[in-house]
Symmetry: C2
């Protein structure tokens, strides 16, 4: 159980790590942080988001932590844990915020000390801005928090991850196995970003912005993309994403054939199907 005595350590004070710190410290929990950027630590200390902070894997901070949240890029997190896991006391619970799970959990749970537990979490919140200075407690209130247990996790570890999602005021907390999570994310998040980027880069006409309406702006909002983070997420989940790209491309190709054979009834049926299906996603 997470109590006000629990020592929470956040490694990586970006938008998500910073927003975790903001909500938890406001609610009276004890939060410390590690971030390589001294400016992020100074800002978080000055704003009262954390009670202590260091720019490296400080033995005292790590040794005191009961719950550690890694809000780093996946490959950075894997390296960090590999190099510094000896600093944690037995029983420390580790969790993360990564947007893909299989490629992360398989690796970490394989090399993790047996007296530590790593439970996967994915806060489905994000914005087109970055850094602790943009941290915002309100981004979680409409978002899903997904816990992804494996056979390496304990009921206590899973319960603590769910509890963390509740403390952070997520709208919904659900459990999915890592493979189902990655399949779903490959469609609703990664495929949409792949489409937005390709739409943005497939036409270099410099005059298009003069004629662009809301449709094009909506479809390309997420084409402003953090290249380091998304290339990691794409590559870690590349088999799923390639399959999703193929399924989408086949469907677009089906529409192309309808156009070529001027099959108006088929087009109309596809549009009706689309309209019916989209109605399920209204809120």
């Amino acid at each position: 159980m997470i109590t006000t005595d629990t020592k929470i350590l956040i490694v990586g004070l970006g938008l998500i790590g910073g927003s975790y710190a903001r909500v938890l410290s406001k609610k009276g929990y004890r939060v410390c942080a590690i971030d390589t950027n001294p400016d992020s630590i100074d800002y978080a200390l000055g704003q009262g988001l954390i009670e202590d902070g260091k720019t490296g894997p400080d033995p005292a901070l790590c040794g005191a932590a009961d719950l550690v949240v890694f809000a780093l890029y996946p490959t950075t997190m894997i390296d960090w844990i590999r190099q510094n896991q000896h600093l944690f006391h037995p029983g420390t619970l580790l969790t993360d915020v990564a947007g893909v799970k299989c490629g992360v959990l398989e690796v970490i749970q394989e090399f993790l000390r047996p007296d530590l537990e790593f439970i996967g979490s994915h806060p489905m919140a994000g914005r087109e801005v970055y850094g602790v200075r943009n941290s915002d407690e309100s981004i979680f209130k409409i978002a899903n928090f997904i816990v992804t247990p494996t056979e390496k996790n304990t009921p206590q570890g899973i319960a603590a991850a769910r509890e963390l999602g509740q403390l952070l005021d997520f709208h919904t907390i659900v459990e999915l196995d890592p493979a189902t999570h990655d399949e779903m994310i490959g469609f609703v998040s990664q495929l949409t970003h792949a489409i937005a980027v390709s739409l943005m880069t497939c036409n270099d006409d410099q005059n298009l912005q003069d004629y662009t309406g809301d449709s094009f702006r909506d479809l390309t909002r997420i084409a402003r993309i953090n290249e380091k983070m998304w290339s990691e997420l794409f590559l870690l989940n590349r088999e799923v994403l390639i399959r999703q790209i193929d399924s989408f491309t086949a469907e677009l190709g089906r529409m192309r054939e309808m156009l070529q054979r001027q099959d108006r009834p088929a087009l109309e049926e596809m549009f009706r199907h689309s309209t019916r299906r989209r109605a399920l996603f209204d809120r």
Copy 2:
């Protein structure tokens, strides 16, 4: 020049025709309308959007009109003009609101009486709702109005179409030749709708809506689509749209190859290009 003596006839009182009537009558212009739906005419008369209205090609209304705006689906408009152009007095200026131009203008300007003029217009405004009851004068204020002259048009006809766009309070009024218009629309509007629909229909998982974030909702907002209108627009511009689908699919395929060969530098460069290019479209 359009004056308060100009008799304006709107054929088709849907969202766009109704919004034209709303703005113009509010500004003191004389607006009549024809729509096959008596309820639309009654509503428009009751709301003061028009001073007279009929449910068919009334000879008196048509014979009195100086400026006629066709706010019908393209093929319906073509048939309507072919059957009823004899009702107009010499010198009447006709215009439209259709989202594609080449396939419409070529046909109409070919059979049109030589003492009439048809000038193409495309108000780039629309919403996911339909009908005169949803008409709204504010939808034009942020939108482009595109006039598409051909060699069959007179300077006076072109000027009157531009003036109409100004009276309707469009944000920007521009001229494009019909082929350039259709090429641009094939990309910014039709390709985006083709993508949204295909994304919506390529995956029938019934549980996706539980995990859907803003990215997916943004990309599929326009997947609720009027199947009659959009199948017409797609088919009238099918050669351009097929070319745009091919160019987009090739770009998405390029990304797929980067994933397959795990080429992180290439992915990062594509994301940077996308981010730079998207910045041009902010407003």
